[in-house]
Symmetry: C2
Subunit: 190 residues, 2 copies
């Protein structure tokens, strides 16, 4: 059991041992319930056939929601990013999860990501804006440019802003972030 638990992210030998000892102390029915929950969740949760976000149904809750703007698609690398963006309560459109970023070093080519279904989706339905919300790593930038070029013939393509994080101090910002913050300056609306 300790070996199995160690495969979980962020769980080292010590934590694995602590978790294992805790489980062994539990009554049998609770342990059964935990094991069952893990297996059931894995069985039930698949990917949304529209946006590839994690979903128990064939189409996820966000895609089914009629109150959300169908003409705006926010493209992210991972389901975790959908959850992070939903927490902001800023965005009322739909999503598309690529399932990673283009990374030749790790052998991840565009074909292995959900890029073709995205192009199909954007070209076949009326979409006013695609927002690329991909983290600004080297691979993320490559992916942003690649996807952006594919989608530009069909719709307006924007990307999220890069600059000073909130609460960030100018003095402690790295030079690239400061340069991007200067470059991305916008007219002040007062």
């Amino acid at each position: 059991m300790i070996e199995q638990l160690q495969n979980l992210p962020g769980v080292g030998p010590k934590t694995a041992q602590r978790l294992a000892l805790h489980i062994l102390k539990q009554p049998e029915n609770q342990v059964q319930a935990l094991a069952k929950a893990i297996v059931e969740a894995k069985k039930q949760v698949g990917l949304c056939s529209v946006c590839f976000h994690l979903s128990a149904e064939s189409v996820c809750e966000i895609c089914r929601n009629q109150n959300r703007d169908n003409q705006s698609i926010c493209v992210v690398a991972d389901s975790r990013d959908v959850i992070a963006l939903e927490k902001t309560r800023e965005y009322g459109g739909k999503y598309h999860v690529l399932g990673g970023v283009i990374s030749p070093m790790d052998g991840i080519s565009p074909e292995q990501l959900n890029i073709n279904p995205l192009v199909k989706r954007v070209s076949q339905q009326s979409v006013k804006e695609v927002i690329l919300a991909i983290s600004p790593s080297v691979e993320g930038e490559t992916t942003t440019l690649y996807v952006g070029r594919l989608l530009k013939p069909f719709t307006k393509v924007t990307r999220i802003a890069f600059g000073l994080p909130m609460g960030g101090d100018l003095e402690y910002a790295d030079e690239v972030t400061l340069a991007r913050a200067l470059e991305g300056r916008r007219e002040l609306d007062t």
Copy 2:
């Protein structure tokens, strides 16, 4: 000496003691040189009469530089911010150092900052753009809006971008930063 050294920022009792012991080990002429350098620097370095950046001359090197764009003024809270922005090598205009941010809690009102000289500077010479580069704290935002409103009648006023810092991961960004990154999205130029 230990007590005096402790007044320096980031120097606690232990560091002060270590510095003091180091100084006591030095030959007398070196100690004299250090003390003299401190007093001389304080005597010589004042504020630039144009932009209020630290300067040994009455007008600082940046203000005197004819190769820099006279029609662009970047407004910062502190001289340290000028140094941070200069390191990016992104900006070729002039600066204006406010000397702090508006903070009623700390008793800092607009009159105590170098805001009036800025308005005078912008209204009396031809300025194409004022870039407000003030850190996004509550006081910083207040200062940005206050200064922005004063300058808008005279020129175009922009502010630096807020969003994801470079190398920042979407998943780990705080919600306000993510919301600002979404809000500040820009059209992708490929």
